[in-house]
């Protein structure tokens, strides 16, 4: 297939290289002269220099054929939207894929029907949420010689310990609460200290007691 790529940064260059290796025909457009020179050394005539939001640049790059696929992967979201609008509405390019740089602009792509989109930040955030569930135990300090560690536990509104006094909690053996931080102030945890959502509790525990502590405080 024939692919037109707007934007010769890391994404554009790597996609170009990969598609060429797979035997596809590619033209890549890059505006910056320094990047253009580097790309030209590698991709030769397949690189066009210019602003891919200008019609004559797109036409020089072969948008009139039209390409089977256009990738708008510049570092500027407005440029990517405009490139896709021009490609779809004027040149009837059958398929476009756009890069979203700032996830806050995703709504604009959606509103204007520019799809599908790829946003590195959103992908990474989704992975973070999947891999590291929010409000979990954070290891602060390992006292290696004493075989103890100090952890911080953020108490959420849905935590079973929320709304309870420390003496009401069935603290597992080998663990003890040290302090409770609330709104920038900390106090030593005593039996009558009541835990509230948003609190950050410090606990000291023996190795291997983390799961027990998590169950009591966070129920995970």
């Amino acid at each position: 297939m024939y692919v037109l790529i707007a934007g010769g940064g890391k994404v554009g260059a790597n996609v170009t290289r990969t598609l060429l290796r797979q035997g596809h025909e590619v033209t890549i457009v890059e505006q910056r002269s320094d990047r253009f020179r580097v790309l030209e050394e590698e991709f030769d005539y397949r690189v066009q220099r210019g602003d891919a939001t200008e019609l004559h640049v797109l036409e020089r790059a072969g948008i009139g054929r039209p390409p089977d696929l256009l990738l708008a992967v510049t570092g500027d979201d407005e440029d990517n939207i405009v490139i896709c609008e021009i490609a779809q509405k004027r040149y009837f390019v059958p398929k476009v894929i756009a890069r979203v740089n700032d996830p806050r602009n995703q709504a604009h792509f959606d509103l204007l029907g520019v799809a599908p989109t790829v946003c590195a930040t959103s992908s990474i955030m989704a992975l973070i949420e999947h891999e590291v569930p929010e409000s979990d135990i954070i290891r602060l300090l390992q006292l290696r010689e004493d075989e103890l560690e100090i952890v911080e536990v953020p108490i959420g509104a849905d935590s079973p310990s929320s709304g309870k006094r420390v003496e009401q909690l069935k603290m597992p053996e080998g663990t003890r609460l040290i302090s409770v931080a609330r709104e920038g102030r900390s106090e030593i945890a005593t039996g009558s200290t009541k835990l509230e959502p948003g609190d950050r509790v410090l606990a000291i525990l023996q190795p291997g007691c983390e799961d027990e502590l998590r169950k009591v405080l966070l129920k995970r």
Binding site: T53, E54, L55, H56, E78, V82, I86, K89, L111, L112
Partner: protein, 143 residues
């Protein structure tokens, strides 16, 4: 009548002044707070520091009830996208967008965006002036 002006450079600030003189309520948006000085020493209207693509900024400006939106930042593509958002998301009836590139101005005019292209206007005026010896926009007038 209420207008939102997005982009407070030479053009946007002058349009804001003219609309204010015409009795309109005018809200100006620019990402650079120093652009306020383009509005003169005493600007009686609102001035919001923020990006015209930021939905929160647009809502804060009162775009939802605006009679007109004028988009004149220094980026053609930024103006196009802001104009489309004002039209399609906020349903503003009178959206006017400045686009310096004549080709893109024509293209998006075909896509029902009201575009003003200073380059085309200047080309016409300069050509006319060369041909007949006077500027159609009047002497010394700038666009």
């Amino acid at each position: 009548m209420k207008a939102i002006i997005i982009g407070c450079g030479r053009t946007g600030s002058s349009v804001a002044r003219h609309l204010l003189d015409a009795g309109w309520e005018v809200v100006v948006v620019d990402e650079d707070e120093e652009a306020l000085s383009n509005l003169g020493t005493r600007w009686p209207g609102r001035f919001i520091v923020g990006h015209g693509l930021d939905i929160e900024v647009l809502v804060e400006s009162g775009i939802e009830g605006a009679d007109a939106v004028v988009v004149s930042t220094d980026g053609d593509n930024t103006n196009i996208v802001i104009g489309l958002i004002a039209q399609r998301r906020f349903r503003v009836e009178r959206v006017v967008v400045r686009i310096l590139d004549p080709a893109r101005a024509r293209l998006f005019a075909e896509r029902r965006l009201h575009t003003i292209c200073p380059t085309s206007i200047a080309i016409g005026a300069l050509t006319e002036a060369a041909l007949v010896g006077e500027s159609v926009t009047g002497e010394g007038e700038s666009i």
